[in-house]
């Protein structure tokens, strides 16, 4: 269903406010459901003894992360096998040789090496001639460390200064409950009143009305002509205001925030990880469309990142009510990637993203003109995307909004050969140093409406 959003908001809050005010005087609710954050920190005691004599796990971690972690994980299979326990499976001398130059070892006909190569689909391992035996000892001592116990993420108490009220229940729900209780109370009161009256009538007792009958208030109001007139005028103005506002909000999707098939968070990718906008939306540089990235762009990183960090996961569950790891599994389902075997099954199905920013078909907008030539920041039109957990439309995208910007923005002419002569002539004509898009003809009909 399509709706007009303006004017409901105001009344919604007014209605709720009235409810709250009428209610809070009679009944004050104490909220005692502030949950204590459970911190089940199991201190994983790192055993300092390493399985490899003379190896330094700290140095080893650094080497491992820069050289090996692209294909190996200590405790699970990746491109190459899991490395934990390798010193029990193989001889140390064999390991030295294998790591320094695995291909040479295979060519020399070493049976262990050939069997391993066959088993892992003949994926060649890089040679590392720069590693000394000491370095390899360090790396091996790092991977031979016992698997650390997973630390349960402590609820983010430090970040939220005060205890959350209502244990994360939104205000609207609380208000709804209050309204319901109020309604029930009034119904009960009316019922009680009726029964008492009936009892009284049955017993022949006259219920005394000890209030003197005055004029009802609305009669008094109707008799005061000045009051009536001014009220009518105020009412007319209010109706005009909301009527016009309602009409002006027809067809404006500002704040449109549909529920996407995968809960993709711009906050994490563009905000926390500072991934450049054009990394995923690469067609914005060269095309009319700034397309939604195809799934191979997702897999560039998510081949390696199958799970989010525990603190990210905890934050997602607490604040946004979303399980990020399950969302990554949805991506794997769409691409047909199997993290267990590290291979594609070949069965893929596209993700049906919902497009938020829609221009009518009679308006032509070109991203590359604005992004590459105009060098306008993405946030100018799309708002603070790096802070959005769920994407919504920030700007109204109306014609007035476009034209306003064209009137105020100067065209980037320096370093652009195309503008050399044009700038000279236009600057003379208008007597200005800088030329706005409007002066360039950027508000002519045909420029955007063909």
């Amino acid at each position: 269903m399509r709706k007009v959003t303006f004017s409901q908001e105001f009344f919604k809050y007014l209605f709720l406010l009235v409810l709250v005010v009428s209610f809070s005087s009679t009944y004050a609710q104490e909220d005692a459901t502030s949950e204590e954050a459970k911190s089940e920190e199991t201190a994983a005691e790192q055993t300092e003894e390493s399985a490899v004599p003379g190896g330094d796990p700290v140095k080893g971690k650094e080497l491992f992360n820069s050289l090996c972690a692209a294909c190996h994980k200590p405790y699970s299979d990746a491109v190459g096998p899991a490395l934990h326990g390798v010193t029990e499976r193989r001889e140390m001398d064999w390991l030295y040789e294998w790591i320094k130059n695995s291909q040479a070892l295979i060519k020399s006909g070493d049976q262990q090496a050939v069997a391993l190569y066959e088993e892992w689909n003949k994926v060649a391992m890089n040679a590392f001639p720069q590693l000394s035996n000491q370095d390899i000892d360090d790396i091996l001592s790092y991977v031979e460390q016992p698997k650390p116990e997973p630390k349960v993420a402590v609820a983010a108490e430090a970040t939220t200064g005060e205890a959350q009220s209502g244990g994360g229940i939104s205000n609207e729900i609380v208000l709804g409950i209050l309204a319901f209780v109020l309604l029930m109370l009034s119904v009960i009161l009316i019922l009680v009143n009726k029964t008492l009256n009936r009892f009284a009538q049955a017993n022949g007792i006259e219920v005394k009305d000890d209030k003197p009958k005055g004029k009802p208030i609305w009669v008094a109001f109707a008799e005061n002509q000045f009051l009536v007139l001014s009220t009518v005028i105020v009412m007319l103005l209010v109706v005009a205001w909301y009527g016009y506002g309602g009409l002006m909000s027809v067809g404006i999707d500002q704040g449109y925030e549909p529920i996407q098939p995968i809960h993709y968070s711009h906050r994490i990718h563009a905000g926390e990880n500072q991934i450049e906008c054009k990394y995923c939306h690469s067609s914005a540089r060269v095309s009319k469309h700034s397309g939604i990235p195809s799934l191979n762009v997702c897999m560039n990183c998510h081949k390696q990142i199958a799970e989010v960090a525990p603190e990210t996961q905890a934050k997602g569950e607490q604040e946004f009510n979303v399980d990020y790891n399950a969302e990554i599994q949805k991506l794997y389902e769409a691409t047909g990637w199997d993290p267990q075997t590290q291979s594609y099954s070949g069965e893929s199905k596209p993700v049906k993203w919902i497009r938020i920013h829609n221009l009518p078909d009679f308006a032509y907008f070109n991203h590359s003109q604005h992004v590459t030539v105009g060098q306008i920041e993405c946030q100018t039109c799309h708002g603070p995307v790096e802070e959005m957990e769920i994407m919504y439309q920030d700007a109204p995208l109306t014609m007035g909004w476009c034209i306003n910007c064209h009137r105020e923005t100067n065209v980037k002419m320096e370093g652009n050969e195309y503008y050399e002569k044009i700038h000279e002539e236009l600057a003379k004509k208008y007597g200005v140093e800088k030329v706005t898009a409007a002066q360039m003809g950027g508000i002519e009909c045909g420029k955007c409406h063909y």
């Binding site: 269903m1 399509r2 709706k3 959003t5 409901q8 908001e9 009344f11 919604k12 007014l14 209605f15 709720l16 992360n65 820069s66 050289l67 972690a69 692209a70 294909c71 190996h72 990746a78 491109v79 060649a124 890089n126 040679a127 590392f128 001639p129 720069q130 590693l131 909000s249 027809v250 067809g251 999707d253 704040g255 449109y256 925030e257 549909p258 529920i259 990880n273 500072q274 991934i275 450049e276 054009k278 990394y279 690469s282 060269v286 397309g291 191979n296 762009v297 897999m299 560039n300 990183c301 081949k303 990142i305 596209p350 049906k352 497009r355 829609n358 009518p360 078909d361 009679f362 919504y392």
Partner: protein, 193 residues
């Protein structure tokens, strides 16, 4: 009378609180030319396979201004590209500038702005195993860099969908410049176009 008033008030309350939904698009007034008659880019139409308007071109066709990459995506192809593939762009300041810009968008998040494998994602330990460009075991060359960008290697994906051939070569040029910086080798002179 009393009941009547109550009903009116509760109805009004319902009306004013039930509307306004940010998950729905706004209503429109006579949407005459709002929706496309031809197929919209990335649109969803039943007549296509998977309902995707974006269809793949026929295998083996070559469009104007583009040439297929002739090395295979395997170890032999990699070795071959490493030895014989060379960059035919001129080494100019302009190309290096473009390359730097693109490098900072697509590569620097992992490989670092200096190419030492210490990008922002590596610092945060999100992505691991990013080597430095002056890694002697890998001994990258112009050809091997292009090959890896085109196909991806191990956990690195392909970047051919995000950049065109010329842009890939510009990035390649900048990567070799970073490698020379890391090794402390003299940079060559810029050529004139």
């Amino acid at each position: 009378m009393k009941n009547f008033q109550l009903i009116i008030v509760s109805l009004l309350g319902l009306i004013f609180t039930s509307c306004g939904d940010k998950n729905e698009p706004a209503s429109q007034y006579f949407a005459n030319m709002y929706y496309t008659v031809p197929y919209d880019t990335y649109g969803e139409y039943e007549i296509f396979e998977n309902e995707q308007e974006a269809k793949k071109p026929v295998e083996g066709t070559i469009k104007k201004g583009w040439m297929p990459y002739e090395y295979e995506d395997n170890t032999e192809g990699y070795e071959k590209a490493k030895t014989e593939l060379i960059n035919d762009l001129a080494y100019t300041e302009e190309n290096i500038e473009e390359g730097k810009e693109l490098y900072n968008i697509y590569c620097a998040t992992c490989h670092g702005e200096k190419g030492d494998g210490k990008g922002y994602l590596v610092e945060r330990e999100k992505i691991l195993g990013v080597p430095s460009y002056d890694d002697k075991g890998r001994a990258i060359t112009e050809g091997s860099v292009y090959h890896v960008m085109y196909y991806g290697i191990n956990t690195m994906g392909s970047y051919a969908s995000q950049m065109n051939t010329k842009e890939l070569w510009q990035v390649d040029m900048y990567v070799m410049k970073l490698k020379r910086d890391l090794e402390g080798v003299e940079q060559p002179e810029f050529e004139n176009k």
